[in-house]
């Protein structure tokens, strides 16, 4: 097993978290915003790899962003639920009741969703100058632990605790890296980071660089997978993680994604245009989106069929049926 003392989740094959998207409708969050999703249904269990395919503009990236809580979209109908099981909350000391196992993500802020175990790998990760990778990731890891405590905290205790412990937030310097003040000390975090970077074949120097600043396209994608490896989500949504990668980098990234699933039991929802990455990250399920809906699902052979024949035949199939 992976020797990581800070794992919030330890899975074996008997446990399961589930991301359940039901009849999701959404539009751009503007006046008369364009409707983009028209009833998406999708279920991703931990430990499974799903590929979400479809032509440009079919709503794949929007689905990903809405799962993570992007403010640019407005959900008009449907729901997104995250079901956790015992193992997912093993780090929580509180007495838990039924409600603590199912969360309506649409009622939660992006940072709360992340703390519960949702991860979005961005198609275009932000470049953030002045914030080192090490600082950012350690901050994120500590924030996740703090946020989880708050989410699962008994509501009565909520107010009292908030008063007692003013959230001082980020109190370390971006120049010198984090002080030894959070749940995870600097040295221990460095060790964790080093292991995860080795897994992804990333150079150590990344840890000292500013977050994505001046990274090549491929380095940014590696960094997304690295972050997932450190945050250990229940479900990782990876938005075109394969775009802009050369073959070596594609293999590194694929190795990382497989490790997420194999070692951490993360469920993967991988958005892609190409069969190429699916040769390395073999999907258990393949879904096709068209005009804001998931219109067809199948196994890995569906992706191969799409590679050969494109999407037109699916479009015909769908509209003939309708």
């Amino acid at each position: 097993m992976h020797p990581n003392p800070y794992r919030s989740v330890t899975r074996d094959n008997t446990t399961m978290a589930t991301l359940e998207i039901k009849n999701l409708h959404a539009e751009v969050a503007e006046e008369d915003g364009e409707t983009i999703l028209r009833g998406v249904d999708l279920t991703v269990n931990s430990g499974e790899i799903h590929a979400l395919m479809g032509p440009n503009g079919s709503g794949k990236s929007t689905t990903a962003k809405i799962i993570a809580g992007h403010p640019a979209y407005r959900v008009t109908d449907g729901e997104i639920l995250l079901h956790l099981d015992e193992q997912d909350v093993a780090d929580i000391d509180e007495e838990l009741d039924e409600d603590d196992y199912t969360w309506n993500l649409l009622e939660l802020e992006p940072n709360e969703r992340a703390a519960l175990g949702i991860f979005l790998g961005f198609q275009y990760p932000a470049e953030i100058e002045g914030v080192t990778m090490t600082n950012f990731l350690r901050q994120a890891l500590n924030a996740k632990a703090d946020e989880r405590e708050e989410l699962f905290e008994d509501e009565d205790e909520d107010a009292a605790e908030a008063e007692e412990e003013e959230d001082t937030g980020y109190d370390t310097s971006p120049m010198e890296g984090p002080a030894d003040d959070g749940e995870i000390g600097v040295a221990e975090f460095q060790q964790l980071l080093k292991e995860k970077m080795e897994l992804l074949d990333m150079d150590e120097k990344f840890a000292r660089r500013y977050l994505n600043a001046g990274f090549s396209g491929g380095e940014k994608k590696q960094n997304e997978v690295l972050q997932a490896a450190i945050l250990e989500p229940a479900v990782a949504v990876l938005d075109e993680i394969d775009s802009g990668l050369d073959i070596d980098r594609l293999q590194d990234v694929s190795k990382g994604i497989n490790a997420l699933r194999d070692e951490q039991g993360t469920g993967i929802l991988q958005i892609t245009h190409y069969q190429r990455i699916l040769d390395y990250v073999e999907p258990d399920h393949v879904h096709v989106m068209l005009d804001g809906k998931v219109v067809k699902s199948g196994d890995a052979s569906l992706a191969e069929e799409l590679e050969d024949k494109g999407y037109d035949w699916i479009r015909e199939e769908v509209y003939q049926a309708a």
Binding site: A68, N111, R113, L120, G130, Q139, S173, M175
Partner: protein, 403 residues
């Protein structure tokens, strides 16, 4: 239109200041000349945009603000081996010739009303002298203002191949009970041949204080004169930080930072004059505004006729944390010699929504994420600072303002 000379000011006032400090005749003469000039010189120019004059210096009530005979400060000075770091008064005893030679040589007291006022009335300040080849690291001047008015005049002289890294910090002392105050800080740097100076200045005056500063360097052949300024405090700051590249191959970096909140007003200016061949300048300013704070920036790169092979760069970025804050920026590039590589830019914007979403999607709460972005925004400035203590102090003040 020139400004009324405060009725409280007379030749007697000036003579009294000079006498108390036992000053030589030439300095008294310079003070009296400056006093005479007050009737003729104007306030510094300010930026005007259609329908708006950004900084209204005319509105300053000098009658009430200027209390020349009760000036008081407590200043701690830390020297470096081989260098001289003295209060201006003490330096008159030990290095009168150097003071006489250089005082007012970089900044003419009659530059404007405020410089003339300073020359006539200053009672504090520091003289830093770095002899040939001496490397003076981490010189520190920590000043505390303890009166309604304080005029300070600082002079830095580095001889051939000397080097100095300097931190100056300015704070308010005792509580002022909301009384308006005025602090004036004139700094002249004479950077000799092939010498290096980094003058860092961190201003954290209380928010009842009006603050004027003019800092100017004269860079000789192959000299480097660098400025780093942090403006955190004061009610109103008018800051002009300038370098004249007078020697061939001379260089200057003018790095500015500010973080305004509440009703603060920051008028910051960076200017460089390329007057010789092969000179290089880099002007970098980063500022953050919260609440109803305002900033106005002017950056000038002036490339003279004789400035062959000039490199000159300028960028200014203002980050707004509030919808009610306001900013104006005017980067100006004046080129009289075509053999120039130059760029200039200015941006005003808010925290990037995609950056914020990216960070929150990693569990970091929105306020912490914003604060990390703001602290990261200042890093390019922090990275330029030579004196560690200055960097730490500036970082702390930025962090404190974010909480």
């Amino acid at each position: 239109m020139s400004v009324q000379v405060p009725a409280t000011l007379s030749a007697e006032t000036v003579e009294k200041i000079a006498e108390e400090r036992n000053e030589p005749e030439w300095l008294l003469e310079a003070r009296l000349d400056a006093l005479d000039a007050l009737e003729d010189v104007e306030l510094p120019d300010v930026i005007q945009t259609p329908g708006r004059r950004w900084t209204n210096l005319e509105a300053l009530d000098f009658e009430a603000l200027v209390d020349p005979l009760n000036q008081s400060d407590e200043t701690e000075r830390v020297s470096a081996e081989g260098a001289t770091v003295l209060s201006f008064v003490d330096a008159l005893d030990e290095h009168e010739d150097l003071l006489r030679e250089h005082f007012g040589s970089v900044i003419d007291p009659e530059t404007n009303y405020l410089t003339a006022l300073s020359a006539a009335l200053f009672t504090t300040g520091t003289f830093i002298y770095v002899p040939e080849g001496v490397d003076a690291e981490d010189v520190k001047i920590r000043a505390e203002m303890n009166s309604r008015t304080l005029f300070s005049h600082t002079l830095v002289v580095t001889e051939k191949s000397g080097s100095a890294t300097i931190l100056e910090s300015i704070e308010s002392g005792e509580d002022t009970d909301g009384e308006d105050r005025y602090f004036s800080n004139i700094v002249e740097v004479v950077a000799g041949e092939n010498s290096y100076v980094q003058y860092g200045s961190l201003q954290n005056l209380n928010e009842d204080t009006y603050h004027y500063t003019l800092k100017r360097a004269d860079a000789d052949t192959y000299a480097t004169a660098n400025w780093i300024e942090g403006n955190i405090g004061s009610r109103l700051t008018r800051s002009d930080v300038e370098t004249e590249l007078n020697g061939d191959g001379s260089e200057s970096k003018i790095v500015g930072s500010f973080f305004g909140h509440e009703d603060q007003h920051l008028d910051v200016n960076a200017r460089v004059w390329h007057k010789a061949e092969h000179t290089t300048a880099d002007l970098v300013t980063r500022g953050v505004l919260d609440d109803t704070a305002r900033s106005v920036y002017e950056g000038v790169q002036d490339v003279g006729v004789d400035a062959w092979n000039t490199s000159s760069y300028q960028r200014e970025n203002t980050l707004m944390l509030s919808d009610e804050s306001e900013a104006d920026a005017s980067p100006k590039l004046i080129i009289h010699n075509h053999d120039t590589e130059a760029s200039h830019s200015a941006t005003v914007g808010q925290v990037d929504a995609e950056d914020l979403f990216y960070m929150t999607s990693r569990s970091i709460d929105p306020l912490t994420a914003r604060n990390m972005l703001v602290e990261g925004f200042f890093v390019p400035v922090l990275e330029e600072i030579d004196v560690d203590e200055f960097r730490e102090d500036l970082q702390e003040l930025i962090a404190a303002r974010l909480r």
